[in-house]
């Protein structure tokens, strides 16, 4: 018995040491393939060695949107992966009924209030959000949300569950940047940059509120907009929002966006986000790349396609359409409208 117990203890000690050694090996050499693969891949059967020059992504040159200096926080670009599930049907892509479109009357005020429509599943510029409340961004059931138009025309999202500032800041940036870059649009609002009362984070534009704040409320043109009713500014009636972003594309047989041959050859994928300034004749007057894909060919392809080949729905006023073009090798190129707003006059 005595010797038997001692043997058992020795065995356990051996087992423990073995475990430790294995653990160290697995921790130190996580890549078993490379550990055992002594030769050069592909040469065992006379294959070829491909030396690929990997160029640093141009995406690292931060755009005004991704530049931390231009924001109060550090937004991150989340690009969808090809393996993602198809985007859910959401408010922004819900077709607008003819009645709702027809009921949109021209804005009474000469300064239409743009409305941005958020898309739950599309890649967006996101602020790291509190993890306990991620659904606020994508949940298409904003029954409890409200938009209040401030005295400056800025719409402020009020959510019952959190303070609006945490939501507004990061999402507002693209719109603000867009308006600054789209020259024709910026020129129409000369007062905006010098607006002393404008908050820098929010910009001086009409990009009020966030995409989040109006999800599900204005896609059909019947969102619950309220005036603030406070302050000294004159109380403007809520402007009629443009129709849903998805309803202004794919008209007159736009043939999608072709995958650039060279990019496809090099298996390059990415997402390009663009602002398209559409004139009243339905043609793109200007296209600005908000987020580049890291492959300039993809960016250029998306930009030129909208600028030269596409025809959009003509509305009574110029508008700015934010679009994602997702270049996926598996699924092919895909166009996803993100938001729409009136261009600033």
């Amino acid at each position: 018995m005595y010797f038997g117990d001692r043997d058992s203890n020795n065995f356990n000690v051996f087992i423990f040491i073995s475990l430790v050694i294995h653990a160290v090996i697995f921790w130190a050499i996580p890549d078993w393939n490379s550990f055992f693969n002594f030769g050069v891949e592909g040469t065992s059967q006379g294959g070829m060695i491909r030396v690929t020059y990997v160029q640093s992504s141009t995406a690292k040159e931060l755009s005004p949107i991704t530049n931390p200096a231009s924001t109060t926080s550090t937004p991150q670009v989340e690009q969808p992966r090809p393996t993602e599930e198809p985007p859910q049907e959401h408010a922004a892509s819900t077709p607008v009924t003819p009645e709702s479109v027809d009921n949109i009357s021209p804005p009474v005020q000469p300064r239409p209030q743009p409305v941005e429509i958020a898309e739950p599943t599309a890649p967006v510029v996101t602020q790291p959000l509190p993890e306990e409340e991620p659904e606020v961004e994508i949940e298409p059931e904003p029954i409890t949300s409200q938009i209040i138009t401030s005295e400056t025309g800025t719409e402020i999202f009020i959510d019952e569950q959190e303070e609006p500032e945490t939501e507004v800041e990061p999402v507002i940036e693209p719109a603000a940047t867009t308006d600054q870059e789209l020259t024709p649009v910026a020129d129409t609002e000369p007062d905006s940059p010098a607006e002393p009362d404008s908050e820098p984070e929010l910009g001086d534009t009409d990009a009020s509120g966030t995409g989040t704040s109006i999800v599900g409320e204005v896609d059909d043109g019947s969102g619950s907009l309220q005036e603030s009713g406070t302050g000294e500014a004159e109380v403007a009636p809520p402007p009629p929002p443009p129709p849903a972003a998805s309803s202004v594309i794919n008209v007159n047989g736009n043939g999608g966006v072709a995958y650039p041959k060279d990019s496809q050859d090099e298996k390059s994928e990415g997402v390009v986000r663009l602002d398209v300034l559409v004139d009243t004749d339905g043609r793109a007057q200007d296209v600005v790349v908000l987020l580049n894909s890291g492959d300039s060919r993809l960016d250029q392809q998306a930009k030129l396609t909208f600028l030269r080949n596409w025809e959009f729905r003509s509305l009574e006023n110029p508008y700015i359409l934010t679009i994602d073009v997702i270049f996926s090798l598996v699924e092919g190129p895909r166009v996803e409208p993100i938001s729409i707003r009136w261009a600033q006059e």
Partner: protein, 678 residues
Amino acid sequence: MPTLSRLSTFLISVMLIFSAAAVPCFSQEQKPNLEIANEYIRIIINTLEENMGRFSVGTTGGDPDRVGDEHQHLIYGGEEPWTSYTTVRIGNQNWVFGNPTNRRAGKTGLYGQVVQPPTIVDDSLVSSWQLGPILVTQTLSFTRSITSGLMDTAKIEYQLLNTDIVSHMVGMRLVLDTMLGYNDGAPFRLTDRAILTDTVFYSHEMPAFWQAFDSLSNPQVISQGTLAGGEVTPPSRVYFSNWGSIVDGLWDFNYQPGRDFMRAGEFDLDSAIALYWDQQPLRPNESKNYVAYYGLGGVTITPGELAVALTAPWQVKADQRHRETFTIVAYIENTGKGEARDVTATLQLPAGLELLSASDSLKRHYGNLAVGETYQTSWQVIPTGAVTGDVTYEVLVEATNSESSLAKRSIQIVKPDFLDIDLIGPLFLSVENERLSPLPMEVMAKVTNVGGATAYNVQAMLHHPLFKLAKGDAALKKLGTIHPSDSVTVKWHLDPTGISGQLMYSLDVISDTDRYSSKPNEVFVPYIEPKVFVGEPQTSHDRVAAGQYFSIPIWATNVPDFRKAELEVSYDPQYLEIVGRSLDVTRGTLFVDPALAQTRLLQWQTPLVDNYKGVVSGIVGDRGGSQAVDSAYGTLITIHFRAKKSGNTTIRLDNVSVYDSKLLPIDVRVIDRDIVIE
């Protein structure tokens, strides 16, 4: 502690499992391609699951007379080709050769089953796919350029074989996504035309070749596609267009004359070519071959302020009987710093060459040539037939305000290919064992090229008015290419069964140049009388002895159009007996059909055996009307006897009736046999 032990054991087991799983997970990276290469070019074929079978072409050393065209693209795709693909149109369906793709080029096509994945066979890249009823084999190899004379050209060959039991309308389209180095949108140049927009050429106007280059002063690489000559199968039509439009259509595509080569849906120039061989009927077991050439352009460049490039075939055939016309193309580019005024190009021909048309002019006037502009002109030339060997022609380019340029290029004038046919066969056949011998009769033809030029697309057709071809043989045989002084031997196997007399056969040989016929050969085939007879006893001993068993076959030989036989067999029961009665009677080979995959027994009536009377009666076999044989040679029945005692006895055939396919009686000679039992 026991719990700890069990836990440790469990953990170790888990780790070992993971370790074991990790070891075989070494990434066996799939090879993206196979390639063959020579000192000029390389051909790469995609071997990945997606796009398998598609190919590209690039240079290795390139043109030996040009620096800077090494390791350049000639067809887009490099190491993983995917943009060029081949459509086989069967009926109204468009099948794409190779494995499916998820990309733009051919994504919506029908795809078949791989029969042979890309394989290197004798310096060729061979692959096969079964596309519906058609077996398509793609063979990529090197061949000699018609302009440079070097092996700097890819030979792209497809064989389409109808494996169905019915005919199909079959056509083919080959798309080549041309590329010059990194220039994917270079224009095409044919004779005196620069092709910058959508253009089509039909067979009646098909030029011998087209070329593509970006600049004469500093060409990255010059490519060339051959449309006629060599082994090339001239296409029905050729389209030059942008790659996007061409590949978006599997067969027809959006062709817009005058549109530039901007890639459809994109914003870059991207030229491509589509060669069509329009649909033709393809009978069961019939095959058709289509050959295209693509490789380096054989262009001689003379630099200068007025750079001149000359191109033409490197060899032309001519003698007093046959003269081959050809085209001399001159490209003239103003590489100077100012406009060249009153530019002229004058062709200077040596003895042995002359203009095809007397009304044509050797001197061409272009006018002013802007900086960087290219002028292109051509002459149709024919050898006189009086001169052979190398001759040099020149093109003098002049301008009033620029130095003139003189470009020279040589051409070899050779005698045309001439095929000598030696047809060899037996003078007579003999008879052995009631059969013609040798059977089948072998006929051999030796075709020798005694001319000065290569003979292309040689085919031999045997004419045999009375003979039948042996099963599996065909009268038409494709001999392919025969170089000067080379010979090709080809054989046919003929079946003269059922015919007799002094019979003739002959051979016709066709090449791209001419048609040749052999003198008819004669062979004497003797007549063999149709017979039904008792065959030799078959025994394990040298002779038949009392108490032994032996077999007697009843033969039917040389019976024309044989279908049915009825007969009785008589024997002396004092000497012979059939011990097993009907069990010792076996049907003959003529009532078994071995032609099918599984041997099939034809109609046969089991006979009655009467050992008391010594009669086997009711022997009836019927092949059926559709199974009649042209000339019967086999047994009707085999009977197994036992010799009861010594002596001489006879086995007789009685009431023998033989019928043809229409159940009409056939006259046959019946022969009994005497048996000696020792």
